[in-house]
Subunit: 479 residues, 2 copies
């Protein structure tokens, strides 16, 4: 097993950035801080991941649309908490050519205030509800913290944001559950483990009634928020006057939800599965699923090449994304290195002994385990290996995450745990904002919120005030 | 034939805008001028069109990437003609939150100046060449002219821009030819007719050696530029210092080309094939290829519904994008109208007589021709009808365009022709800029340039100076 996640946990940031560049995912050397270029290989990975997300959304009643990038300041300002939260994070367009604009435009930080003026035009009656739309677009935040590729960008190149409108609060509530379930299926399909927490009041989305978030734990013990689901209640519909005619002829404001997943989804794959040798990609989203490498041997060139061509033909015919690496100026070893760095899930080697036996050698990227199979059975072997590897990647990632969640019964222990980058602390909390804020200050970490993905039978004492409580809360250093 | 293009030619602008909204392609009522919202149906159409474009580019050696939206003013300014042309058309980001930026950022009007700083990092030696990349992104122009949905937007939501770099001028030249051939195949696949012209010197892309453009003729006699191909020579590589090491160890600037197609491609489909009843979509790109409509008849409900379900099952099994319209509150007539407006290529009706005969009725959107077929043969009938309709749409559009190109031998005739919205005038021109400019002024139209899609055997006299010449030039009112 080449996986030594704990060794690189200390240099996680550096590892992450170099993998993105060396595996040709994203080039982050663009002349504007926080902006990066998707390279061809990375773009294909992104495309495969978005395909899964689109299929999940399309099959659960969402329709894809696309809204403008620019939002007039007058629209952004309509929901007061929203604008207070975002105005200092927006990039502002002030001029068209040399002409100052009468109203400044924000580059969308998120699209509630772009969408609601249109919903007001579209929604007339209860028959127009529910509305469930999504778009995959770039959004912008003027980040003043350190930026990181895919994790904290000023141009978030890939933001899938869904927006829904409903006739009743109950339907909006149900939509929140549906969204959480869709996101679970999404992260499950890429083998990324997650914690689901209800964010504390003081950390909810600006303009939401409440926010639910998906977090993952990184090798350096910090958590990364990888998805959010918000119940907006009637906050935006009241601000934008989005109403519908009820069955009995009255008028009512719609109830809304929104939920988002960004390019951090790609980051989550890199983080959850990567190792010392670079990227490890789940088979379903890998741009290249199998690389075929001939092991040349003097005098055996022709039979080896023939077997290689046969393997490639068979895999292609089975619809597998296969690449033949027949570069003549590279040794097999340097090819192994090259494709391991890029996370190709399966390598098929064809050497002189393989050919003699009518076999090929199949190597898994995650464990580097080698096993032979008859050339004629190569498709079955690849499919079976892929299936096993997909399951193992997910299992290993979940196990790793679970090992990094610790119940603690005091702030001191939580502080130590987080300082030593051990992961997430779960502790009892009375539920009050005062005690929550005190936890954050004392531990120097963020309260992720109350777990929604496990039932709690126990009762304990709030680590701050000592009151008996059944509330558990998660605390971690966060990106 | 419901097609009466000449009747609506006068109100073309209004027709176009209402079709886009009523067929639910784009909602143009967004609170910023020149920005629109892709509606679910329109988004699917866009996706199908982009799929064709992507497949064409991917199969001809291009790789998809994605560059940042923001371009620092310092980068934009490096190619002097380029910046002069674009700086007054750019939207400028001047603030991050309340902080003024040290260097202003332009919202990309096109991406040469975003891409070249990265090419400088990527290209080291002749082995790194050629580079051929493309991206499909939004671009921005601060248009001061009247804006129009899909045709003249301030946010062009969909710009496919390809950028290539080569070792020699010859290779760049060949790439231009390749790009023209790819674009021909693209427009052919959506049945849109085009004129290919080499733009005059004074109308070439800012920073190009020369520009080739695809134009179509609209029902109002004006032309719409729907694609461009530019040979950039070494203009940008010199400005950005993009060099490579040659085979013999020297250094040389790369030669570049770029070529673009925007959402005008979607507009071109609407314009080329639409009629009084609304949209007419080519089968291959239609979000819904077949709509099935039961014609209810008292006492025959069950056999009709059973036949309808059978038809839908058969079409779905054949991979056809089919929609069943079984809404009970609408008459068949209003359903016909509804789906004709949305351009669904084929309608299958199932009424009481059809059921008695074991048949269905198939109706083509373009001609509204009706014909019966056995229910068991519905898939074959749909496929055959689609094929015929695809061919006919293209043929009719090309014939219509050819009728609107006129050879004229004087400026007066050209002026009259264009004033009366008859289309494109082709006339002899000596090739000098003076005479070209004079043509533009006198005729109040644009010189599209020298035809590249027909060989000219003849010789004539320049309509301005009278010199003998073999140059023909196209002149038209232009969007």
């Amino acid at each position: 097993m080449p996986v030594s996640r704990d060794r690189w946990s200390k240099e996680f940031g550096e590892w992450f950035r170099s993998v993105l560049l060396n595996a040709e995912i994203m080039d982050y050397r663009y002349p504007i801080k926080g902006c990066g270029v998707w390279l061809p290989y990375g773009f294909k990975l992104r495309k495969n991941v978005l395909k899964i997300l689109r299929e999940l959304l399309d099959s659960t009643g969402h329709e894809e649309v696309q809204f403008p990038l620019l939002i007039p300041e007058t629209s952004l300002a309509k929901e007061s908490r929203h604008v207070r939260s975002f105005e200092d994070e927006c990039f502002w367009v002030t001029h068209g050519g040399s002409t100052p604009l009468k109203v400044r435009y924000a580059l969308r930080p998120t699209s509630e205030t772009a969408i609601n003026p249109m919903l007001k035009l579209w929604i007339r009656s209860h028959r127009d509800l529910p509305v469930a739309i999504y778009q995959i677009v770039n959004v912008f935040r003027y980040e003043t913290k350190a930026t990181r590729p895919l994790i904290r960008m000023r141009e978030v190149t890939t933001f899938k944001e869904a927006h829904t409108a409903h006739a009743t609060a109950e339907e909006a509530e149900k939509q929140v559950e549906k969204a959480v379930s869709v996101y679970k299926r999404f992260f499950d399909s890429i083998g990324v483990p997650y914690l689901i927490s209800k964010r504390p009041e003081w950390d909810k989305f600006a303009g939401a009634e409440y926010s639910i978030a998906f977090d993952m734990i990184c090798p350096d013990g910090r958590v990364l928020q990888i998805g959010t689901v918000h119940n907006l209640g009637q906050n935006f519909s009241k601000a934008f006057d989005v109403t519908y005619e009820t069955v009995d002829g009255g008028r009512e404001y719609v109830y809304q939800t929104c939920y988002g997943i960004s390019e951090r989804a790609i980051a989550s794959i890199v983080i959850a599965h990567g190792d010392d040798n670079g990227l490890v990609l789940p088979y379903d989203v890998a741009p290249i699923q199998v690389v075929v490498i001939p092991i040349p041997y003097k005098g055996k060139e022709e039979p080896i090449n023939e077997a290689v061509r046969d393997v490639v033909r068979k895999l292609e015919a089975a619809g597998i994304r296969v690449e033949l690496d027949d570069r003549e100026d590279l040794t097999p070893g340097s090819k192994f290195y090259y494709w391991e760095l890029r996370g190709v899930p399966i390598r098929v080697e064809v050497g002189p002994r393989d050919v003699e036996r009518g076999e090929v050698t199949v190597v898994r990227r995650d464990t580097l385990e080698r096993s032979g199979c008859k050339l004629d059975a190569v498709v079955e072997k690849v499919v079976e290996t892929a299936k096993q590897m997909t399951a193992d990647l997910s299992k290993r990632a979940w196990e790793w995450m679970r090992k990094h969640i610790h119940y603690v019964d005091s702030l001191e222990k939580a502080e130590k745990l987080i300082k030593e980058r051990e992961g997430v602390a779960q502790l009892f909390w009375c539920g009050s904002e005062d005690c929550g804020r005190e936890i954050e200050e004392r531990v120097d970490a963020r309260v992720l919120g109350v777990p929604m993905d496990e039932s709690l039978e126990r009762e304990g004492s709030c680590v701050v005030c000592g009151r008996r409580t059944r509330y558990l809360v998660r605390v971690a250093a966060a990106y």
